[in-house]
Structure formats: structure tokens, C-alpha cells
């Protein structure tokens, strides 16, 4: 039970929902394909979202993540395949009959209604009485930390406040699955980072009842908030995993390159990936077995860290990040042209395309 502003938000009244399978995934897509004319937006997509988790679909624009969200919401019918929510098939069900609510990228607040009427819209449609509507809307606004703006119009609010109203309007209905389509995309960096933490806190509060499915192209956002991340590219799912798995054990070069910076190197006929911050620049005179020799070509001082580009003996360009723990801008900038040795732990080198490799072996 979640409380906010002293009032309890109860399960929605109105239409009785059919019995659900408690063990079923919150969202299950099976073989979903969606095309717009000749353009294939998603191709043979199968994935499962677990109940209560914060699941992020991450990918560049045009990768199919938003289309997938719209197929789950019911705005776009899938060409083929099956959509299930908590074990109920909803493939052909219209949006207004699905137990999901959406936070839109442009917020989609009704401009001619007050904040209260916006937030209470879903309740009004369900036939909840006026007083109860107002109480639940106030509770939802308190939960998104925006109390006392009920009487205002959306146009009188800032971008961040509108974003919170859009969130309140969705969660007040207690959807089983909350879909968020790049909700922080229009906010400036500082506000976005604040909202990421708040959104995560709200999700933790609601996780017993609501599953979050989040779309973003921002890898930091995905790593900050998600329990699991699905990486999309060209209408296909590249990898699904925890932020740690995605970052430390990317399955291919696309995932390695899209999430964070990576060095992809050839070692013993296999392609391996090492993250820049896992590589150690050895002190002058220090040596280690298997260390790579090279010359510092570029130095960029970034405040908290310094980024080096080292050209190895094999001609590879290797990016190295080093904390500016016991050095200064003046000193690191003198390191250009220096001969260095690089070292990393074997477990930090992740073999790419290993599925393919295993199949070939």
C-alpha cells in the first residue's frame, strides 16, 4: 500500500479485471514484428519484463524501442506476434482496455484542463466520484512532490513540473505496467539527473504493484535507474541484462560501443573489449608480465579524470581513463609523447561475439 499526502491510492474501481497469472511476466512479447510500409521498425522481437522491475529499452533513434513501447501500450497494432500483460493476451486489445498507462515524451497534458482535471482524467473515465477523484489526484501529486498546483493550467508550469504532472496522471490509475517514453528527454541535464533519482525512488515505492518500462537513448540514464536493460539496434534486441552485465559483459561490439566507451582489441584471434577505466598506466620504470607498450598520443584533462589515447606497438589506439588522484592538469598535459606501458586484469577483458564463437567451436 502506497501512501502520499495522507491519502491512500487504492486499486482502481470500475471494470473488474479478469484473473491474472501471478507468476507470469508483466510483459511478454513473442515474435513481434511491426513495419511502416517498407520500413521495418521491429523484427521478430521476443522479450519478457519481470513484475515490479525497472526495465529500460535503450538504443539509438530508429532502433525500434519506442515502437515496442507503443505496441505494448496498444497505439500500434503488431503485424505479427503476441503481446501479453501478466499472462493475459492483449494483442488485439485497444489502449483503453489495457491495464497500462503511458508517460509521453511531450507529456501530452490536456491544455484546456486544470492540473487536477488532467490527473483525475483516468479516474473520471472510470466513474470515480468527484471527491474521491480530487483526493486521489492530490495524493498522486504529493507522491511526485508537486502538491498544491491542482488549480493551475499546464501552460503555467515549468517543463519539470509538467513532467511530474504527466507522471501523476499515469500512476494515479495504478496501472499494472507504467510505460515511459523518454520522459526526461526535454529537461536540462541537472534537472534530468535529479528526476532520474526521484523516478527511481518512486518506482521503488510502487514496485509491488507497478512495473516500469522505460525508453531512453541515454546510457547514463539507463545505467542509473534500471534493474535490467534491453539494448536495441535496427529493430532487433542485441542484449538484455543488468546494468553490470551490459556494461562489463557486452555480447557484441554494438552494445560495447553504445553503452560507455570501449577499446575493442584483437587477442589470440579473438575480439576482446576493455573499458578505458580498467586500464592502468604503469609508472615509469614499472613493468608487468603481458604489459602493452605504447606512446601517449593525446591527453585530455577532464577535471576529475584524464583521458589518454595511447598508440600501442601493434598500432591500436587505446583509450585510457585515469582518476586525477595524485596529479594535476599541468602534469598530465606534459605526458603527451611519453612512452608508457599499459596493463589490465584478464577478467576485465570481455570476449565479444562469444555466442558466435561458441557456435563455431
Amino acid at each position: 500500500m502506497v501512501t502520499g499526502g495522507g491519502t491512500t491510492i487504492d486499486a482502481p474501481s470500475g471494470r473488474p479485471s479478469p484473473p491474472e497469472d501471478e507468476t507470469a511476466p508483466a510483459v511478454r512479447l513473442t515474435g513481434v514484428r511491426k513495419s511502416y510500409g517498407p520500413v521495418v521498425a521491429i523484427e521478430d522481437l521476443s522479450m519478457e519484463v519481470r513484475p515490479g522491475e525497472f526495465f529500460t529499452m535503450l538504443g539509438p533513434s530508429g532502433s525500434g524501442k519506442t515502437t515496442t513501447l507503443r505496441v505494448i501500450a496498444g497505439f500500434e497494432p503488431a503485424d505479427t506476434g503476441r503481446v501479453e500483460l501478466h499472462g493475459l493476451e492483449v494483442t488485439g486489445t485497444p489502449p483503453y482496455e489495457r491495464p497500462v498507462n503511458t508517460v509521453f515524451q511531450d507529456y501530452a497534458l490536456f491544455p484546456h484542463m486544470s492540473v487536477l482535471d488532467n490527473v483525475a482524467y483516468g479516474l473520471r473515465v472510470k466513474g470515480v466520484g468527484r471527491r474521491e477523484r480530487a483526493e486521489q489526484a492530490a495524493a498522486a501529486l504529493a507522491m511526485v512532490r508537486l502538491p498544491g498546483v491542482e488549480g493551475r493550467r499546464p501552460a503555467q508550469l515549468s517543463g519539470g513540473q509538467r513532467q511530474r504532472v504527466a507522471l501523476a496522471r499515469a500512476i494515479v490509475n495504478r496501472p499494472r505496467v507504467l510505460l515511459l517514453d523518454e520522459p526526461l528527454g526535454a529537461l536540462d541535464l541537472k534537472l534530468r539527473q535529479e528526476m532520474q533519482l526521484e523516478l527511481k525512488a518512486i518506482q521503488r515505492e510502487l514496485s509491488e504493484r507497478i512495473t516500469f518500462v522505460y525508453v531512453t537513448h541515454d546510457q547514463d540514464e539507463a545505467l542509473t535507474m534500471s534493474d535490467r536493460i534491453a539494448v536495441f539496434s535496427n529493430g532487433r534486441l542485441e542484449q538484455v541484462g543488468t546494468p553490470g552485465e551490459i556494461y562489463e559483459r557486452p555480447v557484441n561490439e554494438f552494445v560495447a560501443g553504445f553503452v560507455g566507451t570501449s577499446n575493442v582489441l584483437e587477442r589470440d584471434g579473438r575480439r576482446v573489449m576493455v573499458r578505458p577505466e580498467k586500464i592502468r598506466l604503469l609508472a615509469p620504470g614499472e613493468d608487468a608480465p603481458g604489459a602493452v607498450r605504447g606512446v601517449v598520443r593525446e591527453v585530455a584533462y577532464l577535471g576529475s579524470v584524464t583521458r589518454y589515447v595511447v598508440e600501442s606497438e601493434r598500432g591500436e589506439k587505446i583509450v585510457v581513463l585515469r582518476q586525477n588522484l595524485d596529479t594535476s592538469a599541468e602534469r598530465v598535459l606534459q605526458e603527451r609523447g611519453r612512452e608508457v606501458r599499459l596493463e589490465w586484469r584478464p577478467e576485465d577483458a570481455s570476449v565479444l561475439d562469444h555466442k558466435q564463437q561458441e557456435a563455431e567451436a
Binding site: A73, Y96, T102, F104, D106, A108, H112, Y121, G122, K126
Partner: protein, 300 residues
């Protein structure tokens, strides 16, 4: 340094720089011509209308008497026939406006939300084509359609449905006005519908609302300014029209425009014509106030 740059410029560049530094001067230059037009032609004519409505005509000599009197307005209020004509005019205007709303909203909705881009272009041209031909020709065409032995009745007769007798009647005027002004309703409704983002309609469905509810609570309030704009055209144009009543109206179809026309032309009583012409202005003013009261412009 700045003076040397300015000195090296051509006169044209200096003028444009001077204008750049004085935004008010640019505004004055931009608005002077339309402003003069507006004040001299538009407001002056309107003022003259109000002033002459307070004059009268000597019944014997037919000459204008430039003294203030409310006699014209008293006559309008006290003569039952003028009250009937005014109410008929307002009634026909209201009926045509309502009919055009009922036709334009579904049409524009189909064009904006359902039709393909190609189809949209075809529909847009289809709306505009009637405006390329003469108003008179189109009203005459309806005269041929609605006459007793006209196209409509020969069509109904061919189907074995008998015939209707609506030529030269108020019904004919209602049909013709609704037809003639329909593009003026469709275009503003069309453009107001285009400004409603898809995401609002999706959000409404997402929050559980079916189509009709979404239309009532989201789409309709947002296109109401467009409907209001269209209705200003349909209503005001009907209030002032005298051609359609002349051509397709019958014995009991006299409208304000006809009275104005006959007082200016035949009876030579310009003050009375002016007084009667003030009535549509007052009606329009009241109509706009009512529309604002009902929130028609809130979504603007």
C-alpha cells in the same frame, strides 16, 4: 572605430542600420499603410453607418434631415413585420451555422486524422473548388435543383418517391446557405484539428477513454475556437445576405439584407437601411460574447 565603419557604408546600408536601431520606426513604417486603410475606409464607414442610422428622411421631399432621432429604431421595434424579418434572418443564420458545424467537423476529422496525405490534398482542393466559381452561378444552380420541376424532384420521381415542394422557401434558403458557407466552416475547423497533437488523443485512450468520450472531452474543446471562427463567417455572412433570399426564397423569405437593399435602392431611405443594418452587428456582438462565455476561446 564605429564611425569609420558607418562612414564607409552606402546610404542604403546607413538607412537600414538606422532602422535596425529604432524598432518603433520599423513598426510605424510597416503599419502605416494598413493602418490608414483601416481607419479611413473601415472605421469611418462603420461610424458613418451608426451616425446615419440616427438621421431621417423627409417623407415629402425625400431629402436627408441631419438631426438626431431614434425614430428608425422605434419603427424597427414597433413594427411586427421587422421583428419577424429579424428573427427569421437570425433563425436561418443559426440553422445554417449549426448544419455547417455538423457537416464540417466529421469531414475535417476524416481529412486530418484518417485520410492519407494524397487524399488530404484531394479533399482540400474539393473544399476550395466551389469558391473559384461565382456565388451567383452557384445559387442559380440550386434554384434549378430545388425548383418544382427541378433536378431533385425528377430524381426522386425516378426512384418512385414522389416529389417535395421546397423550391422558393425558407427550407431552400437553409439548404443553400448551408452549402454556400460550408467551406468557411471547414477550413478553420480543419486547421484547428491539425493543431491537436496525436499524443493528446493517444493519452486520452491510454487513460481509458473510448472514441466518443475522447471527442467530447479532448478534441471538441480544443477545436471549439475553430468552430467559433467558422461560425462567425457562416453567421455573419447569412445575416447580411440578400441574394440567396431573392433567388431561392419565397413570399415569406424576406431577410434583413433585402430590407436594407430595398430601402437604399427603391425607397431611398438610407437612414432606415442603416438602422436595420446595425441589427446584425448587435446580434454578432451578442453572439461573440455568448461564445466567449461558453469558453469557445479558452483553448486559444
Amino acid at each position: 572605430m564605429a564611425s569609420s565603419i558607418a562612414a564607409s557604408r552606402t546610404p542604403r546600408a546607413r538607412v537600414s542600420a538606422a532602422l535596425f536601431r529604432r524598432p518603433w520606426l520599423r513598426a510605424v513604417l510597416l503599419l502605416s499603410a494598413p493602418g490608414a486603410w483601416f481607419v479611413l475606409i473601415y472605421l469611418a464607414a462603420l461610424a458613418l453607418l451608426f451616425v446615419s442610422a440616427l438621421w431621417k428622411v423627409d417623407p415629402l421631399s425625400g431629402k436627408l434631415i441631419h438631426s438626431w432621432t431614434l425614430q428608425n429604431f422605434e419603427e424597427l421595434v414597433n413594427e411586427p413585420v421587422y421583428r419577424t424579418i429579424a428573427l427569421r434572418t437570425i433563425g436561418i443564420a443559426a440553422a445554417a451555422t449549426l448544419t455547417d458545424v455538423l457537416l464540417a467537423v466529421p469531414f475535417a476529422f476524416f481529412a486530418v486524422r484518417v485520410a492519407s496525405k494524397r487524399m488530404q490534398g484531394v479533399l482540400f482542393v474539393a473544399v476550395l473548388i466551389p469558391l473559384w466559381s461565382s456565388y451567383l452561378v452557384r445559387v442559380f444552380a440550386w434554384r434549378l435543383i430545388l425548383a418544382k420541376n427541378g433536378i431533385l424532384n425528377s430524381f426522386l420521381g425516378g426512384l418512385g418517391l414522389g416529389s417535395v415542394n421546397i423550391g422558393y422557401s425558407n427550407t431552400a434558403m437553409w439548404i443553400v446557405f448551408s452549402y454556400i458557407w460550408l467551406p468557411f466552416m471547414i477550413l478553420p475547423v480543419w486547421s484547428s484539428l491539425e493543431r491537436v497533437p496525436d499524443s493528446l488523443i493517444e493519452a486520452s485512450a491510454d487513460l481509458g477513454a473510448r472514441g466518443w468520450r475522447t471527442f467530447r472531452t479532448v478534441i471538441f474543446p480544443l477545436i471549439l475556437p475553430g468552430i467559433a471562427a467558422g461560425s462567425i463567417f457562416t453567421f455573419a455572412l447569412t445575416l447580411g445576405d440578400f441574394i440567396t433570399p431573392t433567388l431561392v426564397g419565397g413570399a415569406g423569405s424576406t431577410m434583413i439584407g433585402n430590407v436594407v437593399y430595398s430601402n437604399v435602392g427603391i425607397a431611398n431611405n438610407v437612414p432606415f437601411a442603416a438602422a436595420f443594418a446595425v441589427v446584425p452587428l448587435i446580434v454578432m456582438g451578442l453572439y461573440l460574447l455568448l461564445a466567449r462565455r461558453l469558453g469557445a476561446f479558452e483553448a486559444l
